[in-house]
C-alpha cells in the first residue's frame, strides 16, 4: 500500500512526461547533435563534421542577411507592438458601453491564422487591383508595389504583424490595468495629480511585469517570423525579407535538404533568442517589486 502510494505521482506524470520527452526534449538535443553532422534528407549514413556547419554559417552571406532582416523586423516592430495596444488599452479601460465591441474588433485578427492574415494583406496590397493603392492614389499619394519594392517589403510585413497581434496584447494590457488598485488613482487625484501624471507615476510603473511579458513574448515570436514572409514575399524581393526561419526552411526542406546545416542555424537562433530573453528579464525584472 505504501509502495503504491509512493508510485502514484509518477504514474500520473507518465503520459505527459513521455510526450514532453519525445517531442520537445529529445528533438532539442537531437538537433544539437545533428548540427555537428552532414545529415541530409534521405541519406541514411552521415558523419560527424565537428563545427564545420557553424563555420559555414560564418561565411553564408544569405544567412547573415537573414539574421540582419530578422533583427530589423524584431526591433522595428517592437515600438508599435508595445505602444499601440497600450494606448488602446488605457483608452478602453474606462467603463464604456461599447467596450466589448471595441475589444472584440481589435482582437478579431488574432483569431485568424497567419496564412489568412498573409492572404488578406496580399490582396489589400496588390499593386494593381488592391484597394490600398487605389485610395492612396485618390488622396494624391504615391502608389507602390509594396511587396516588390525592397525598401517597403519589410515594412509591409511589419504592418501585417501589428494588425494581427495588437488585439492580443491589448487584452493582456487590459488584464494588467484591471489589477491596478483603483484607490491608487483616487489617492493621486486627491493629491491633485492629473491624468497624465497618474499615467506616468502609477500606470506605467505598475504595468512593468506586463511590459516584460509582452516584450519577451514579442521578441521570442518575432525572431521566429515565417508565415507572413512565406505568404507575402517568400523572402524577396532579392533577399530583402529573407528571415532566419525562411532560410532554415529552404535549407532543410526546399532546395538543399541539408539537415546538419539547418540544425546549426536552429541552434544559433535558439541561443540568440535565449540570450535576448534572459537580458530582458534582467533588465526589466531588476526594478520591479513583484
Amino acid at each position: 500500500m505504501r509502495r503504491r502510494g509512493a508510485l502514484t505521482p509518477y504514474l500520473f506524470l507518465l503520459p505527459g512526461l513521455a510526450l514532453f520527452a519525445a517531442f520537445r526534449l529529445y528533438p532539442l538535443l537531437d538537433g544539437l547533435r545533428l548540427s555537428f553532422t552532414n545529415a541530409r534528407l534521405g541519406r541514411a549514413q552521415y558523419a560527424f563534421v565537428g563545427l564545420a556547419n557553424y563555420g559555414k554559417l560564418l561565411e553564408d552571406t544569405r544567412f547573415h542577411v537573414s539574421l540582419v532582416n530578422t533583427a530589423f523586423y524584431s526591433i522595428a516592430s517592437t515600438l508599435p507592438i508595445l505602444a499601440i495596444p497600450l494606448v488602446l488599452a488605457v483608452a478602453l479601460n474606462r467603463g464604456m458601453s461599447l467596450r466589448t465591441f471595441l475589444r472584440g474588433a481589435f482582437f478579431f485578427p488574432f483569431t485568424l491564422s497567419v496564412v489568412t492574415v498573409g492572404l488578406t494583406w496580399l490582396w489589400l496590397l496588390d499593386p494593381v487591383v488592391g484597394p490600398l493603392n487605389y485610395y492612396l492614389k485618390s488622396l494624391g499619394l504615391p502608389a507602390r508595389s509594396w511587396l516588390a519594392d525592397p525598401s517597403t517589403a519589410m515594412w509591409a510585413i511589419i504592418l501585417t504583424s501589428v494588425w494581427w497581434v495588437t488585439g492580443y496584447y491589448l487584452v493582456i494590457y487590459l488584464a494588467g490595468l484591471q489589477d491596478i488598485p483603483r484607490e491608487l488613482y483616487e489617492a493621486a487625484a486627491l493629491d491633485g495629480a492629473g491624468g497624465w501624471r497618474s499615467f506616468w507615476a502609477i500606470t506605467l510603473p505598475l504595468l512593468r511585469p506586463v511590459f516584460l511579458f509582452v516584450f519577451v513574448t514579442h521578441i521570442i515570436g518575432s525572431f521566429q517570423i515565417f508565415g507572413q514572409v512565406f505568404i507575402l514575399t517568400q523572402g524577396g524581393p532579392g533577399d530583402a525579407t529573407r528571415t532566419v526561419v525562411q532560410h532554415l526552411y529552404e535549407t532543410a526542406f526546399q532546395n538543399f535538404f541539408q539537415f546538419g546545416s539547418a540544425s546549426a542555424m536552429a541552434w544559433v537562433l535558439f541561443v540568440v533568442i535565449l540570450v535576448f530573453s534572459l537580458l530582458q528579464f534582467r533588465l526589466l525584472r531588476g526594478h520591479t517589486q513583484y
Binding site: A6, L28, L112
Partner: protein, 278 residues
Amino acid sequence: MRSRRGIVTALLVACAILWLLPALWVLVTSLKPTANIIRVPPEWIPWPATLAHYGEVLFSSSRTARIGRAFLNSTIVSLGSVVVVLFASATTAYPLARMRFPGRDVIFALLVGSLMIPNAVLLVPQYILTQRLGWLSTYQGLIVPEAAMTFAFGVFLLRQFFLTLPTELEDAARIDGAGPWRIFTRIILPLSQPVLGALAIFAFRSAWNDFLWPLIAVNKPEMFPLPVALALLRSAYSSESYGPIMAGATLSALPLLIVFLVANRRIVEGVRVSGLKG
C-alpha cells in the same frame, strides 16, 4: 469632461472600424462574382452577391480546390490535439500541484524552462522523428507534435489553478476511501471546468492556425490542413483568382470566430490567468 470622453470613444470606434476593414474586404471579395472582384474603384458592397466561390472550394474536385477536405483535416487535428493536451496537461499538473514526491520541483522547472524553446528550432529533428515513426502525412503526425507544443503551457496554467483549490474536499474524499484517480476525476477536474475550457480554446486555436509544422510534416495534398491548403492555393491560382482564396480564408476563420463570440466574456479572464503568469 463629458465631451472629451465622447471624443475618445469616437476615435476608438473609428480605429476599430479601420481595424476590421481588411477582414471585411476579404469577406466582401469572397461574395463577389469573379468579374467584379478586380474592379476599380473597389466595391464594398458585394452586389450581385454569389456563393459560387464557396461552392468551388468546398465541393469542386479540381486539383487546387481541396478546402473542404482540408477543413475536415483541420477539425480532426485540432480536436485531437485538444484531447491530448487536456489529458496530458491535467494528469501532469495534478501531482505537481497536489502531491509531494522527490523530483517534483526539478520536473516543474524543466517544464517551465521549456516554454523558452522556440518551435521553429525543433523542426528538423521533429521531422526526422516523425518520419522514423512512419507518421509523416498522418493525423497522429500532426496531432501529437501539435499537442506537445502546448503541453508545457497547459501544465503551467492548470497547476496554477489546482493550487487554489481547497484541500478539504480532497481530505473528505480520502476519508471516504477514494483513491487519487477518483479524486482527480471526480473532484479536481469538475471544479476546474473554466480553466480547462480556456486551455481547450487555446489548444484549439494553436493547432487550427499552425502553419510551419504541417507545411513540412504533410506531403500528401489530401492530408493538408487548412492553412497549408490555403497557402498552396495561393501559389496555384493566378493573382486574379482571389475569389476562391478569399472564400477559403473566410471559411477557415469561422470556427474560431464562433468560439470567441460565444466565449467573449471569458477572453480577458482566460488571458489573465494564462498569459500574464506565463
